[in-house]
């Protein structure tokens, strides 16, 4: 629904620019909240220090936009460097073999509840990354812990956190539940 509403406000503005009639949205930002069903009008002003249209612009031609948008968080950069992610990763097939062997392990899903409601790997327990701190105490340090998420990014993040807390028997599922659905469980819905 929302794209329709936003797209049609854009379409209306585009037509008004051609007509040169009415009051257009130059210098105004509409903030629409569908849940509150509320439109807010915020005044926008030109920033004299703007890198592009300010008084002393630093951008005078098109730049490398990929590089411009890939600025990582300064703090996250360093700690990532010396962590050997590969040695803490597990392929879907390997995990399937471990689960099929009936070994005593902890399988932890760090996605959010709404994602869990779509699908999950059998015998997993849900510990959403957004509230991961609260769940750590319920994990057993002596047990092998296998973490997974949607694509493998969040589970590696959770793994690093556990690693910092002194956990050692850790693995993160490469490609997450999405690859699991593709390669191991074809009945699982993909989203």
């Amino acid at each position: 629904m929302l794209p329709g509403i936003v797209g049609l406000i854009q379409a209306t503005e585009a037509l008004k620019l051609i007509l040169e009639k009415g009051k257009n949205l130059v210098g105004r930002l509409i903030l629409f909240d569908a849940m509150k069903m509320n439109f807010k009008n915020v005044k926008l002003e030109r920033d004299p220090n703007c890198d592009l249209c300010g008084i002393q612009p630093t951008i005078t031609e098109l730049i490398d936009y990929k590089a411009f948008c890939e600025i990582p968080m300064p703090s996250a950069e360093k700690e990532d460097d010396d962590f050997d992610e590969e040695s803490y990763s597990i392929e879907p097939e390997e995990l399937a073999n471990i689960l099929n062997a009936g070994k005593e392990i902890a399988l932890v899903d760090v996605r959010e509840q709404s994602e869990w409601d779509i699908c999950y790997i059998e015998n997993a327990q849900l510990m959403p990354l957004s509230e991961f701190d609260e769940h750590i105490s319920s994990l057993n340090r002596d047990e092998e812990i296998y973490l997974y998420c949607y694509k493998g990014t969040r589970s590696m993040k959770a793994l690093k956190q556990l690693h910092e807390e002194g956990f050692t028997k850790l693995k993160s599922l490469t490609g997450g539940i999405d690859r699991w659905a593709e390669e191991i469980d074809s009945d699982m819905p993909r989203y």
Binding site: V6, I9, E13, I18, V26, G27, E45, R46, L62, Y65
Partner: protein
């Protein structure tokens, strides 16, 4: 330029509005707009602007239609799954209004191809879904002095404005001078 009898009949509701009328409808017919993206925003944009009688609609997108698009990208149908989005939306627009010239660009916008493209259009409408494209589109619209109709969505919230720095307005960079850190961008 004049309207054909078929067009006069088709646009009757516009022609009888004093704010539009024959003069406005002819302006629509002479106008050209470039839509960035044929997805959630691009679908209603293309369908309504086409129906309204914009003379030339350009559409840029390099993606193909996927089943998970259909919940919101209403220009595409089940039969279009796997087809380029620009081809699918072109068909939908022309099915409603064959008077429109639809120019498709089945390509990714880059700093190498964007400026000559923008120079061909009167208005740019941004329906893109990533920061890289938004900054690229903003800067190219500024350098070519083309008005840019901006729209974006996050979860249940939408933002809409018009950037027209050559008419005293701000640009996207006045609003957001830097993108959020890459590892905080929701995927």
């Amino acid at each position: 330029m004049a309207l054909t009898n078929e067009e006069i009949n088709r646009y009757t509701r516009h022609l009888t509005l004093p704010e539009i009328g024959m003069e406005g409808q002819l302006k629509f017919k002479e106008a050209s707009m470039l839509l960035i993206g044929a997805g959630g925003l691009g679908s209603p944009l293309g369908m309504y602007l086409g129906a309204a009688g914009i003379g030339k609609l350009g559409i840029v997108d390099f993606d193909v239609v996927d089943n998970s698009n259909l919940q919101r990208q209403i220009a595409h149908s089940v039969a279009d799954i796997g087809r380029p989005k620009v081809e699918s939306i072109k068909e939908t627009i022309l099915a409603g209004n064959p008077n429109v010239e639809v120019e498709v660009h089945n390509t990714r916008l880059t700093r190498d191809n964007i400026l000559p493209l923008f120079e061909q259009y009167d208005v740019i409408v941004d329906g893109s879904d990533n920061f890289e494209t938004r900054y690229l589109v903003n800067d190219a619209a500024y350098f070519t002095k083309t008005p840019l109709v901006y729209g974006s969505i996050f979860r249940f919230e939408g933002q809409i404005t018009v950037f027209h720095p050559s008419h005293e307005g701000p640009c996207y960079r006045c609003l957001y001078s830097n993108p959020p850190p890459a590892n905080l961008v929701p995927s």
